[in-house]
């Protein structure tokens, strides 16, 4: 961190990398889904075209200030998460707002965006949006509990709330995935909900709610949300890698690890119908919660 200029440049590069990787992953997910479904599928860069097209839409409508600003809230959450989560182990190449990656702060900043977006969706006055938001919030209560249990277990076990410290621990002890297996299981099962792939795509379920909260967003608004989504996806994947897979030393390693993680919700989603809201919540309060408890017990005992 020699200078402010270097710092800002690094931040921008981090965001751009996150955007590109997230978009590419989503494109690859479409491609892989297509292959499973017996078809050729769009090119992997299709999402970039879609995003660019959305950005180049000529007109847009909004239903008021909150609806107008909703995607900006979402962007705050995604970019803040990217900036807080250390991308690589040494942190030289991708500098970020280094508060040691405080996990509690991260937990809360990650819900900042969805809530802002929910307010935007609320202002549209579209019942589909409101229903989608209530579903999303309910589901969030569902998967946050096992997710927090996993995190608390880790934090307690290693007496730190800092992601950087946890990554440093893994340099000596090996991947937390193996030393805290229950926390990993709980966190991965919670991740299924976090990524909102099937069977947890209840928020924007097209056949039920006609795409839910985003049903009034088009053009630049949808573009911002799409970009934010891809950045957020990258942030979440990096978080998992940092937490459980020992972080990454270089970009290639990071890509391999994140994509491996990303395959889990994607492949599960391809062959699953969608849960109803209460079923989704109950799912998270079943096995994931049990693993969460085991993780806590594990943390207490060791």
């Amino acid at each position: 961190m020699e200078s402010v200029g270097y710092y800002i440049l690094g931040v921008i590069v981090t965001i751009i990398v996150a955007f590109m990787v997230g978009m590419t992953y989503m494109g690859l997910s479409r491609k892989i889904t297509a292959r499973v479904q017996n078809r050729k599928g769009p090119p992997f860069y299709q999402n970039f075209i879609d995003a660019f097209k959305l950005a180049s839409k000529e007109t847009a409508i909004h239903h008021g200030f909150m609806h107008h600003a909703g995607p900006a809230f979402l962007m705050v959450a995604s970019i803040m998460s990217v900036l807080i989560i250390p991308v690589l182990n040494d942190g030289k190449w991708f500098p970020n707002l280094n508060f040691d990656g405080d996990l509690i702060f991260l937990l809360y900043i990650m819900v900042f965006g969805p809530l802002g977006m929910a307010l935007g969706a609320g202002q549209t006055g579209n019942p589909n949006s409101a229903i989608g938001v209530t579903r999303g919030l309910s589901q969030m209560v569902g998967f946050e509990i096992p997710w927090v249990m996993a995190l608390v277990a880790l934090m307690m076990q290693y007496q730190t709330t800092s992601l950087v410290d946890l990554m440093a621990v893994q340099q000596t002890t090996g991947w937390l995935m193996f030393s805290s297996p229950f926390a990993f299981l709980a966190a991965v099962l919670a991740m299924l909900g976090m990524f909102r792939y099937s069977p947890f795509d209840i928020v924007g379920a097209p056949t039920e709610l006609a795409s839910g909260p985003v049903s009034e967003n088009g053009g630049k608004y949808l573009f911002t949300m799409m970009s934010s989504g891809s950045i957020f996806a990258f942030a979440k994947l990096t978080l998992y890698v940092d937490l459980f897979m020992g972080g990454a030393d270089n970009l290639i390693e990071l890509l391999i690890k994140t994509f491996t993680i990303y395959l889990i919700p994607m492949l599960y989603g391809m062959v699953s119908p969608r849960y109803r809201t209460e079923q989704a919540i109950r799912y998270f309060w079943g096995w994931p919660l049990f693993f969460g408890f085991l993780a806590l017990v594990h943390a207490m005992v060791f």
Binding site: R39, P42, I49, D50, K53, S56, E58, I61, A210, S215
Partner: protein, 182 residues
């Protein structure tokens, strides 16, 4: 430095290229043509490889696919949906019945000529058009977009009175058709 016209041209080219390869079709099966849309979208014909993909609500959609005849009751909804779509937007008339009424030429409840009510960019004829024909229709639309000729939205804006007048003629004054977008 950079010629304004040239940069405009390049920007237009890139924009049109993106629009051409990302066509989001509104999920609205207005008529019996809707039966050939699933095959077009699914594994054998797979329109997604051309960037064609469904959109759930009009705010996100680029293309309004009029799959066949429009009854007067549907016409009102179609026009409302069309007006809620964002520019640039395109209309594909699908099937013979959108062109000249097809076999419903003497029906009291279907319109015969779609382009009196909506600015149609591409017609796909046949009853019913095969998925290949639908793909060809999308190909034609892509071609028009690339050439910058698919400007139906502008036409609709310019001739709004004309289109609205034609609509009024059918639905009379009883039905409240709010002037939302214009």
């Amino acid at each position: 430095m950079i010629n304004d016209k040239n940069s405009q041209k390049i920007a237009d080219f890139i924009k049109n290229w993106a629009r051409k390869h990302s066509i989001w079709v509104l999920a609205y099966g207005t008529g019996c043509g809707a039966i050939e849309i699933p095959p077009t979208m699914t594994s054998r014909y797979d329109a997604e490889r051309l960037g064609v993909r469904g959109a759930a609500t009009p705010r996100q959609a680029d293309v309004l696919l009029i799959t066949g005849y429009l009854t007067t009751k549907t016409l009102k909804r179609v026009i409302r949906v069309y007006e809620q779509m964002q520019d640039p937007k395109y209309v594909i008339g699908f099937g013979s019945c959108t062109i000249n009424g097809g076999m419903y030429y003497d029906s009291y409840n279907t319109i015969k000529v779609l382009d009196k009510y909506l600015p149609v960019d591409v017609y796909i004829n046949g009853c019913m058009p095969r998925p290949e024909a639908v793909l060809a229709g999308f190909g034609k639309l892509q071609q028009l977009i690339a050439e910058g000729k698919a400007n139906g939205a502008q036409k609709y804006k310019d001739d709004h009175e004309y289109y609205r007048g034609n609509l009024r003629k059918i639905i009379g004054n009883k039905y409240e058709m709010p002037l939302y977008n214009w």
